[in-house]
Structure formats: C-alpha cells, structure tokens
Symmetry: C2
Subunit: 237 residues, 2 copies
C-alpha cells in the first residue's frame, strides 16, 4: 500500500487533489488507476484510506474512504546537525525520519564549510522517508542557524552532546531515566572547536555522551545517537 | 596522520613497499614526500609510525620508526547481511567497520534479488573505513552463502534476529547480560519469508529483537543493531 503525506485536513467525505508530484508518482511511476487505494496522513488526523478518482493525464483526486489508524506521534526528539557534505546530510535526514525524529535543525559551527543548503530538498527527502517508514507525521526540517544563536535561544531541554574528545559516559547510561523530550547535537566532520566544546560542556542542560572508542563519521554518529536515544528514553522501549 | 592497513608483519627495522594504490594515494592524492610519516596497522602487531623513503614516480617504501599502540581488537561481532542494492550494501559495510564489526558475512535469502556481489570492492571499502575510524584491524568480508547453509553450519553463537513482524523484546533488553561474542542477522528489503522466519524463531541460539515501531531500511536496521549490540554487550560500555 502506497502511503502519501498530504497537507490537507483528512475527514469523512473529503476529496483531495493529488499534487503534481504525487500524481506523477501514482500514475506514471506506480501505474495506479481509478479505484486503486492509497494511504494518506498529514501529521494530525491519523491515517486514511483513499481511492483514486477523476484520473486524467493531468492528475487525479483522492477520495477518502475510511480512517484506518488513529494519530500517534513519536517522542519530542530533535536532531541538531551541522551542515556536512550533501550526500551525508541527505542520509542523515532520511535516517532521522526512519528513526522517529520530530525535527531536524541544521547547524553552522566554526568548522562547517557551508552556510546554506537546499532545505526544501531535505524536507522532500524527510517526507518520502516518513511515507515509507509508516509513521503518521514527518520530521520538520529547520533552516541553518549558528551554534551561538542556537544556544542563546535554548530553553532547558536536555541536549545530548556526542563528545569524541572527552571522557563522557556511554550514551545509554547517560540518558537512562531522563525525560522523553530532548535533542541530539552532531558536529561537523572536524568536530567542535575548543571554544565550542568548552561552552557546551559548561551548560547545565548539555549531556555529554560517548559513542564508543572509534571515530565515527557524522552520519554514523547521528544514526547511532538517534538509536540509543530511542532505546534509552524513546519509543523503542 | 594518514593511517594505512598493510598485510606485512610490523616490527622494528622493517621496511615495506607501499602497494600501487597506497603509493598513488600518498604521493599523488595527498602530496606526501620523503620523510613524511604515516601510521600502519595489520590487525596483529599494533600501530606503527613509518616514514616515506625511496620516493620515485613509481612508488615509495615505508620505513618503520616506532610502535605507537599495542594491538587491541574489538569484540567478536559478526554482521550477517542479505545482499541488498549496491549503494546500501556499501553503506552497511562502511558502517560495520566504523561500528567495530569483526566480520561481515553476505547472505542470500528467498527474497534477495541477487546471488553475487563484488566482494573485493566491499573489502576495500571496509579497509578504508577501518583506516579512518582508528581501529587496529579491519572487518573481513565473507562471500555470499545461502541462509539454509549458514544455519546448517552454525555453532551455538547467539544470533540476533531483527524481527519486524513479531513481538520481540527491545534489542537492548534482549541482549543485556549476554556474551560479548555473537552475530547480527539483517534480512533483505522484503524481509524474511514465512518459512525462514519460522525456522529462525525455532532455533535455540536465535535472539529475536525489536528495533522499534517503524519500518527500517536494511542499512538503517544494520547500523542501529550494531549500535545497540555494542552498547549492550560490546565495547561501548
């Protein structure tokens, strides 16, 4: 069953117009035709079955037939990740969607080489991964912000800091018993600068954690950290 | 400091000939010259510092100058992974090296679409990732074998089975307290067949585990499973 994220409200009797991209996917790529069913979700109204209608070369309607799942959202988990090379950043966003992150916030640090990225493309990747992984919402991708500005505006939510250089506790141990709401901070390939590390380690809400004895690439660190967070305090328990 | 895996014995006074690929990398790509130092490891003799010597257009020698680390190997962790699409299989092998797997065994199941792959290329990817992650050995890549043959020849080592369809315990809980020697089984994108699942679930050494409520791609499942194994019984404790 094909699953599609839509922005529209989902309710009994609703008939939506599929977007141009979704029409192309349904009709051109997947060869669906009138009467075939898909699953729809919007992050608010659960999952609905819908039938293709008014199929033309230009597109199709999606007529809702039944609600099949009640809305359930994952934990309030945010991934804050430095701008790394495009392929690895795309992998990170795809995996954040599979691993149940609610948001991915992009970050600029002293050692990042970029100050912008294609946020719309990353949002599309996150949406497609959310469709395939079976969740009922999609991660929101948030435009890059500098580390200093991020920390200046931070509340007191726990921020898990994957600290390669320090003597931090193993992640699973450092997180255990904490709240099921928080964020994970992943630096660029060159790590954080000494100034950045010093500031991070001095903040009361920062939880330094270790991800083992080997040097991990940024994408590996992000996936491992998301996994351990879900296992320790998230919805993998 | 550039790190290189070499097959040769490493000992005081040894002078090795760099392979053609390594010479090209050192001289052509990284622009190193006579007297520059690299780090060498072979999986047996620890890590050694070596200086470039006899540099010509054709290659260079590596003259060992000092032992810098004693040999330490990671836990006896094997990843058994079905042949998935090439890009995802390469990601899995790279990540298995970063996450400390001792071996990656390739697998053919009822739902795999391929029956062969370029093992030498995967070994090269594993070796390069081992060089970058700082470990003192490299994962061995083992040619594809059919699931039935694998299970017929299995000893009694624990085999962690990531079972999407069942009611298995969370991985971190199912593994806790177990031995620091075992294997992780990752199926193809279509999962295991009902017959395969039934056989696996009936074997005394198989530990069914859950990787959370969402559907994971094979590469994500492999990385998450390796992470949780290291956190529960491996060298991330």
């Amino acid at each position: 069953m094909i699953r599609l994220f839509v922005p529209d409200d989902l309710k009994d009797g609703a008939v939506l117009r599929a977007s141009a991209e979704q029409s192309h996917y349904l009709l051109g790529v997947m060869r669906r035709s009138a009467g075939d069913e898909v699953a729809l979700f919007n992050g608010r109204d659960g999952e609905w079955r819908a039938a293709l209608r008014a199929v033309t070369k230009k597109g199709c309607d999606l007529a809702l037939t039944a609600k099949t799942r009640e809305q359930v959202n994952g934990p309030d988990l945010e991934l804050v990740v430095a701008l790394v090379k495009r392929a690895r950043l795309e992998t990170i966003v795809e995996k954040a969607a599979e691993l149940g992150a609610a948001r991915v916030r992009l970050l600029i640090t002293q050692f990042t080489n970029a100050d912008h990225t294609n946020v719309a493309r990353l949002q599309a990747i996150a949406t497609e991964a959310a469709e395939q992984t079976g969740r009922l919402d999609r991660p929101q991708i948030i435009s890059p912000v500098k580390l200093a500005a991020l920390l200046d505006g931070w509340s007191d939510r726990p921020l898990m800091f994957c600290d390669e250089a320090g003597n931090a506790k193993p992640a699973i141990e450092a997180l255990a018993g904490g709240p099921a709401s928080g964020a994970i901070l992943i630096g660029p390939e060159g790590g954080f600068s000494p100034d950045e590390r010093a500031r991070l380690r001095g903040l009361p809400y920062v939880i330094p954690v270790s991800l083992g004895p080997r040097i991990l690439r940024a994408d590996t660190a992000a996936i491992s950290a998301l996994t351990l967070w879900q296992a320790a305090v998230g919805d993998w328990r």
